[in-house]
C-alpha cells in the first residue's frame, strides 16, 4: 500500500483497545461506552445527511422504532441479540425507505420539521398504547448471543463486544462510503442540485439513499440501547428531545470525520452524566451552555481542534 488511511488505522486501534478494555472496564464506564456507541452510530447517519445539506430533528423516530421493535420481539419470546438488533435495524430502514419517498422532496427547515412531525406521531402512538406500557414502557430481558446466555456482569460485557464489533464495521463502511462516487454526491447535492440533474443523476435519489442509511443506523442504535438499558420507554427513546440529542452530538462532533462522531457521543454522555450527578437541578443548563460554547468557539466541532493542531504544527515558527 502506497497510501495509508489514517482514519482506518485510528479506528482499528481504537477498536482493538476497546475490545481489550472491555474485560477490565468498570461497569459504569462500560455503560457510558455502550450508550456512546449506540448514540454515535445514530449520529453517523445524521453526519451523512448533514453532508448532503440536510438536518433532521426527528431521528428519534427510527431510534425509537428500532428500540421498540427489538423490545417487542422479546415479548414474543425472541432473545437472540443478533436477531433483535438485525430486526430493529431492518424495520427502521424499511420505515425510512417508505417515508423517504415523501421526505426527499423537502429541504432545509421543512425537512427538519417534517421528520420531527413523524417522530411525534410515533411518540403519540406509543404513549397511547397501554399494551406497550404507555409512558412507563416495559422492561427487556437480557439477550442471548447465538445460544450463549451470559449472566450478571457478563451480559453487559458481551453486549459491549457485540456492539463494538458492529459499530466498528458500520463506521469503517461509512468512512469508505464517503469516498465513493455516491458518497461524494452528498457534496454535489448540497452545493447545487440543478447541476447534479444536468450531469445526469437524480438529486432526490441521492437523498433517499442517504435517508434510508440514516434510518438503518438509527434503528441499530435504538435496538442496542433497548438491550443496554434493559428497558424501553417513550421519553428516552422516541421523544423529540432524543432527536435533539442526536443533533447535539452531530454539532459537537462536526462532520469532518466519522471518528469524531464517537468522540462527540462520548463527550455528550460524560457531560450529561456528570452534570446530572453534580447539579441535578441545573444539568440541562450545563448541557446547553456547553453546546453554546462549542458553537461559539468550535463551530466545526471537536474534530476541528485536531485539524487546528495539525495546521499549527505545519506553520513556520516566527
Amino acid at each position: 500500500m502506497r497510501y495509508i488511511d489514517k482514519t482506518v488505522v485510528g479506528l482499528t486501534i481504537a477498536f482493538l483497545a476497546l475490545l481489550f478494555a472491555d474485560f477490565f472496564m468498570a461497569e459504569w464506564m462500560r455503560f457510558i461506552g455502550l450508550q456512546s456507541l449506540a448514540r454515535g452510530t445514530v449520529a453517523l447517519g445524521l453526519l451523512v445527511l448533514w453532508r448532503t445539506g440536510l438536518v433532521s430533528f426527528g431521528h428519534a423516530l427510527y431510534f425509537g422504532f428500532g428500540a421498540y421493535a427489538a423490545a417487542m420481539l422479546t415479548l414474543l419470546g425472541y432473545h437472540d441479540a443478533f436477531f433483535l438488533v438485525f430486526a430493529g435495524t431492518l424495520v427502521a430502514g424499511l420505515l425510512a425507505f417508505l417515508l423517504g419517498f415523501l421526505l426527499r422532496r423537502y429541504r432545509a427547515i421543512f425537512f427538519a420539521l417534517l421528520n420531527m412531525a413523524f417522530s411525534m406521531i410515533l411518540y403519540g402512538v406509543i404513549v397511547k398504547t397501554e399494551a406497550l406500557g404507555s409512558t412507563d414502557g416495559f422492561s427487556v430481558l437480557a439477550p442471548t448471543f447465538l445460544g450463549y446466555a451470559p449472566e450478571g456482569e457478563a451480559v453487559q460485557t458481551t453486549l459491549f463486544l457485540f456492539t463494538l464489533v458492529f459499530t466498528y464495521l458500520i463506521t469503517l463502511s461509512v468512512h469508505l462510503y464517503l469516498k465513493t462516487t455516491l458518497g461524494g454526491m452528498s457534496m454535489a447535492v448540497r452545493e447545487n442540485e440543478i447541476r447534479v440533474e444536468y450531469l445526469g443523476y437524480s438529486a432526490e435519489k441521492v437523498i433517499h439513499v442517504k435517508y434510508v442509511f440514516s434510518g438503518l443506523v438509527a434503528g441499530f442504535g435504538g435496538a442496542i440501547m433497548a438491550l443496554a438499558i434493559g428497558q424501553v420507554d417513550p421519553d428516552s427513546m422516541a421523544n423529540w428531545t432524543v432527536s435533539g440529542e442526536f443533533v447535539f452530538i452531530t454539532i459537537l462532533s462536526g462532520i469532518g470525520n466519522v471518528a469524531a462522531t464517537f468522540i462527540g457521543a462520548l463527550v455528550f454522555e460524560l457531560i450529561r452524566t456528570y452534570a446530572f450527578e453534580y447539579a441535578p437541578q441545573f444539568w440541562q443548563f450545563i448541557l446547553g451552555g456547553s453546546l453554546l460554547a462549542i458553537i461559539m468557539f468550535l463551530p466545526d466541532g471537536i474534530w476541528s481542534v485536531l485539524s487546528r493542531l495539525r495546521k499549527a504544527e505545519k506553520a513556520p515558527s516566527p
Binding site: 465513493t180 462516487t181 454535489a188 440543478i194 440533474e197 444536468y198 450531469l199 445526469g200 443523476y201 437524480s202
Partner: protein, 262 residues
C-alpha cells in the same frame, strides 16, 4: 447530414403569457446555431423545454428519432443533450478539479459502480486533460466561488461537455464578460467542442459573436421563431433587424444608406 433534433409545433404558456408559439426547428448534426432575440423573447424557455426543465403545453420534441417530451433533465442529459447556464451552475465551495471530478464520476458510473471510489488516477488524468482543453488548468485548485466570471463560465461549460453530448446548448456563454475577453472565451469553447464534433446551439446577444461563430440563426420574438436562416441572410432579414438587432446596430451598419428607421 442527419437530423438530430426535431421540434414541431411547440407551445408553452404561463397563464396568459405565451412564452413559446408554433416553434418548428430542425437541427442537423454538427451544426453551430445561434439563438438570438430580445429579453423575454422565449430563448431560454426554448432551451428549458428541449432539456426537459419545462414541459411544453403542446408539441413534439424528437431527439435522435425518439420523443423526449416528459423526460426529466437527467434522462435527456443521459441521452445526449447537455446545457450550460447563463448564471454558472457549479459546486461553489469546491475546487475546480473537484467540480470536474464529480462531473466525470457521475457521467461514468452507474449502478454498483457508484460505490467505487470517486477518485482514481485515470479519472484524475481525464479531468486534467479536460482542464487543459478549456484552458482553466491554472485554476485547478482554486475554489469555484473565487473564480473570475469568465473562468467560472468556462468551468460550467466544461462540466456540461464532460459527457461528450451530441447537442450542447449554451445559455448566453458571453453574458457578463467584458468585450475584450468575449472572443477569446468563444475561441476556447468552440475549439474544445469541435474536437468532439458537438452540435452547438447557443443563445447570444452580441451580433459580432453570432456572425463570427455560427452558420445558422434562430431569431425569437414574443415566443415565436421569426427567422430561421443562414447567418448572413438572417442579419439582413427585416424582422430580425427591427425586433432583435434594434436601431443602434442598424445605424452603424447602414451608415451609407441613411437611417430610414431613425
Amino acid at each position: 447530414m442527419s437530423v438530430v433534433l426535431e421540434v414541431r409545433d411547440l407551445q408553452r404558456s404561463f397563464g396568459a403569457v405565451i412564452a413559446a408559439k408554433d416553434i418548428n426547428v430542425t437541427v442537423n448534426e454538427h451544426e453551430i446555431i445561434g439563438i438570438i432575440g430580445a429579453n423575454g423573447a422565449g430563448k431560454t424557455t426554448f432551451v428549458n423545454m428541449v432539456t426537459g426543465y419545462l414541459k411544453p403545453t403542446s408539441g413534439q420534441i424528437e431527439f435522435a428519432g425518439r420523443s423526449v417530451i416528459g423526460l426529466p433533465p437527467r434522462e435527456i442529459t443521459r441521452l445526449g443533450i447537455s446545457r450550460s447556464f447563463q448564471v454558472p451552475q457549479v459546486f461553489m465551495s469546491e475546487s475546480v478539479f473537484d467540480n470536474l471530478l464529480m462531473a466525470y464520476a457521475i457521467a461514468e458510473e452507474t449502478g454498483v459502480g457508484l460505490l467505487s471510489p470517486l477518485y482514481n488516477d485515470e479519472r484524475a488524468e481525464r479531468v486534467d486533460s479536460h482542464l487543459r482543453r478549456y484552458q482553466i488548468a491554472e485554476y485547478r485548485n482554486a475554489m469555484a466561488s473565487t473564480l473570475p466570471q469568465g473562468t467560472r463560465k468556462l468551468l460550467d461549460i466544461a462540466m456540461a461537455a464532460v459527457r461528450k453530448p451530441t447537442i450542447l446548448m449554451l445559455d448566453e456563454p458571453t453574458s457578463g464578460i467584458s468585450v475584450e475577453e468575449k472572443f477569446g472565451l468563444m475561441d476556447i469553447i468552440m475549439d474544445a467542442l469541435r474536437v468532439d464534433d458537438t452540435t452547438v446551439l447557443f443563445i447570444e446577444h452580441d451580433m459580432e459573436i453570432v456572425e463570427r461563430y455560427v452558420s445558422r440563426v434562430l431569431a425569437f420574438y414574443q415566443g415565436e421563431v421569426i427567422c430561421d436562416a443562414p447567418t448572413a441572410e438572417a442579419m439582413v432579414d427585416p424582422g430580425v433587424r427591427e425586433f432583435v438587432i434594434g436601431e443602434e446596430y442598424h445605424r452603424t451598419r447602414t451608415e451609407t444608406g441613411g437611417s430610414e428607421h431613425a
